[in-house]
C-alpha cells in the first residue's frame, strides 16, 4: 500500500454511499492502520446527493480533506459530473453503469463501469448494489482481504441483521466476478 489512499464515494442518499465509505475506514482500523471517514452531512444527505471522503493510510493522516481522490466511487450521474475532474493522475473512477450510460473515459485514469443495480436485482436484493460495488473495488485495488471485509460486515449488521450477511457476501463476490470477467486490471 502507498502511504495514503484518498477515496471519494458519491451518489444519491439511500444508495449506501456512507456505509461504503465507513466499511473502508473500519477495515483500515481493523487491519491496524489508520482510517478516516467524513460525510457531507446535514439536509443534503436526505434524498439529494451524498458523498463521503475516506483516507486509508499506514502513516498518520494529516489533512482530512483532499482536493483530488486516488479512487472515486460514483453511484450516479450527478456525482460523476461533480467529481470526475478531481481524481489524481493514475487514479481510478469506478462507476455505476446501471445509472450512467456514458462510457466514461478520462486521460491517465482507469475508468471502470459496473452495472451494480442490475447485478443486485439479479441477486434478488436491490439494496446490496453498494456491496457489488465493494466487490468490484476490492478486486481492482486489493485494499483489504475478504476476511477483514467479512468481519466488518458482520459487525455492522450485528445479530439483528445477521441473516443479511450471506446476501452481502454474495454481492461482493458478484462484483469481483464481474471485474474478472471484464478482464480489467487496475495497475496503480
Amino acid at each position: 500500500m502507498r502511504s495514503a489512499v484518498n477515496v471519494k464515494v458519491a451518489g444519491f442518499g439511500g444508495q449506501g454511499v456512507m456505509m461504503f465509505g465507513q466499511i473502508l475506514a473500519y477495515s483500515a482500523t481493523k487491519d491496524g492502520i489508520n482510517g478516516l471517514w467524513f460525510p457531507s452531512y446535514g439536509p443534503e444527505t436526505r434524498g439529494g446527493t451524498a458523498n463521503c471522503s475516506v483516507i486509508v493510510s499506514e502513516e498518520t493522516i494529516n489533512s482530512p480533506v483532499f482536493k483530488n481522490a486516488n479512487h472515486c466511487i460514483i453511484f450516479n450521474l450527478p456525482s460523476l459530473d461533480k467529481f470526475r475532474s478531481n481524481v489524481e493522475t493514475n487514479g481510478l473512477i469506478l462507476y455505476n453503469s446501471s445509472l450512467i450510460e456514458e462510457k466514461v473515459n478520462e486521460p491517465n485514469l482507469t475508468c471502470v463501469g459496473v452495472p451494480i443495480n442490475d447485478i443486485a436485482i439479479e441477486l434478488g436484493n436491490a439494496k446490496v448494489a453498494n456491496m457489488v460495488m465493494m466487490g468490484a473495488y476490492l478486486e481492482l485495488t486489493h485494499l483489504f482481504s475478504d476476511k477483514t471485509i467479512l468481519a466488518i460486515i458482520e459487525k455492522i449488521l450485528g445479530e439483528k441483521k445477521a441473516d443479511l450477511v450471506e446476501i452481502n457476501v454474495k454481492a461482493i463476490e458478484a462484483g469481483k466476478q464481474y471485474i474478472q470477467q471484464q478482464g480489467v486490471v487496475y495497475a496503480a
Binding site: P39, G42, I61
Partner: protein, 356 residues
C-alpha cells in the same frame, strides 16, 4: 488496546465517561447531537445523570447547579447554542466552579450553517459573557487529541476550579477516525471539594455558597484580582503548543484544529517545492502560546495565520508577533473547508495575504 474507528462526537462522549463525568445537561443542536445521544444511553445505564434541558440557557444553569453541588458535570453545544450559554458560563467562572463545556463549531454569524467552522475563537477566548473571566480552552486537531483532552478535562477543571472549554470544529465532530482510548492522562493531585453546596451536614459548622455577587466594589475588585492570579498560574502551567519544522523556516504557519491538519499536508507539499515552512500549532488557544513566537528566526519571511474564519486568532498572532515579522492571513468561512493546495497557494503568494 487496539484502535477502534469512532465518530468524533461519540468519542467526545466516551472520553467524557472515561474522564469521570457524573452528569450531562444539554440541548440538541447540529452538528454535536451524537454527544448527548451517546451519553443519554450510557450515562443513565450506569446510574449517572443525563438530562435534556428545555434550552441551552437552562442546560448551562443546570451545569452551574451540579458543579456547585460538587459533581463532575458537562454540557455540549454548537455555536448559536454556546452563545446562549454565555451568561451561565460567566457566572460559573465567577463562582469558580469546575465544569467541562464542549463546543462543536458551525458556520455563523446568526443561525449560519451547520458545516465546519472556527468562527467562535472570539467567543471561546474573549467570552460572550460579561466581566473579566477566562476559560481554559483546548483546541485539539484530531479525534485522538480530542479524546486525550476530554479524558483529562474534568481533572483540569477541578484542579483550577474553572470551566474548561473543548473547542472543535464540526469536521472533528462528524468524522470518524481510528483512535485509542487508553493513552495516559496527566495525573493531578485533586483536593476534596470541601466547598461543595451539598448540605451543612457534610461540613458542619460552615455554610457553603456558590455565588458571583459582590456588591461592594472593594470586594469585587479583590475577587477579580484573585481570579487574575489564578489565570496567571494557568498561563504558566497549562499553555500547550506544538512546534513543527521550526528549524530555519522560510515561512511559519499558525493554525489550530482541523485547519492545522490541512496545513500539515500543505507543508509537506511546500517542502517538495523547496519552500521550508514551519508551524506553530496552539493546542490551548487560551492561554495562547505567545512565547512560541520568540522562536521564529529573524530570517523568516512571514507568518501566515490560517483559520476557518475571517480572522479571529489573527488578533492573538499579531499581539504575539509584536511587529517582528510580516503577518498574513488565509481564511475560509461559512463551512467552506480548504484543501491543502489552497494553503500552498497562500504561502506561494504570501505577499498578497499580508495584513500587517
Amino acid at each position: 488496546m487496539a484502535k477502534i474507528l469512532m465518530k468524533g462526537n461519540e468519542a467526545i462522549a466516551l472520553a467524557a465517561i472515561k474522564g469521570g463525568v457524573d452528569a450531562f445537561y444539554g440541548y440538541p443542536i447540529t452538528p454535536q447531537n451524537e454527544v448527548p445521544e451517546y451519553l443519554s444511553k450510557h450515562l443513565i445505564a450506569n446510574g449517572k445523570v443525563f438530562l435534556q434541558a428545555e434550552s441551552e440557557v437552562s442546560a448551562i444553569n443546570m451545569v452551574y447547579g451540579a458543579a456547585g453541588a460538587g459533581a463532575r458535570v458537562m454540557t455540549s453545544s454548537s455555536s448559536p447554542g454556546i452563545a446562549l450559554k454565555q451568561e451561565g458560563i460567566s457566572y460559573i467562572a465567577a463562582a469558580e466552579l469546575p465544569c467541562v463545556i464542549v463546543s462543536v463549531m458551525r458556520g455563523g454569524p446568526g443561525l449560519g450553517g451547520i458545516q465546519p467552522s472556527q468562527a467562535d475563537y472570539y467567543q471561546a477566548t474573549r467570552g460572550g459573557g460579561n466581566g473579566d473571566y477566562q476559560l481554559i480552552c483546548y483546541a485539539p486537531e484530531s479525534i485522538q487529541e480530542t479524546i486525550d483532552t476530554m479524558k483529562g478535562a474534568f481533572d483540569t477543571a477541578d484542579f483550577y476550579r474553572n470551566p474548561v472549554l473543548v473547542l472543535v470544529d464540526g469536521l472533528i465532530g462528524q468524522m470518524m477516525e481510528s483512535v485509542d482510548f487508553d493513552r495516559p492522562v496527566k495525573q493531578r493531585i485533586l483536593l476534596e471539594k470541601s466547598w461543595a453546596t451539598n448540605g451543612t451536614k457534610n461540613h458542619p459548622g460552615s455554610r457553603n455558597i456558590a455565588n458571583s455577587l459582590h456588591l461592594d466594589p472593594v470586594k469585587l475588585e479583590e475577587h477579580n484580582i484573585h481570579l487574575q492570579k489564578k489565570y496567571k498560574l494557568i498561563k504558566q502551567n497549562e499553555t500547550q503548543v506544538e512546534m513543527i519544522h521550526m528549524d530555519d523556516p522560510d515561512y511559519v504557519i499558525v493554525a489550530y484544529g482541523t485547519m492545522a491538519r490541512i496545513c500539515r499536508s500543505a507543508i509537506s507539499m511546500l517542502n517538495e517545492k523547496g519552500i521550508k515552512v514551519g508551524m506553530i500549532r496552539p493546542i490551548t488557544i487560551w492561554p495562547f502560546p505567545e512565547q512560541a513566537f520568540d522562536q521564529i528566526p529573524s530570517t523568516c519571511k512571514g507568518i501566515l495565520c490560517c483559520e476557518l474564519s475571517m480572522g479571529q486568532m489573527l488578533d492573538d498572532v499579531l499581539i504575539a508577533n509584536n511587529g517582528r515579522h510580516k503577518v498574513g492571513f488565509f481564511g475560509r468561512s461559512g463551512g467552506m473547508v480548504p484543501d491543502p493546495e489552497e494553503i500552498v497557494d497562500a504561502i506561494v503568494n504570501f505577499k498578497d495575504k499580508v495584513v500587517k
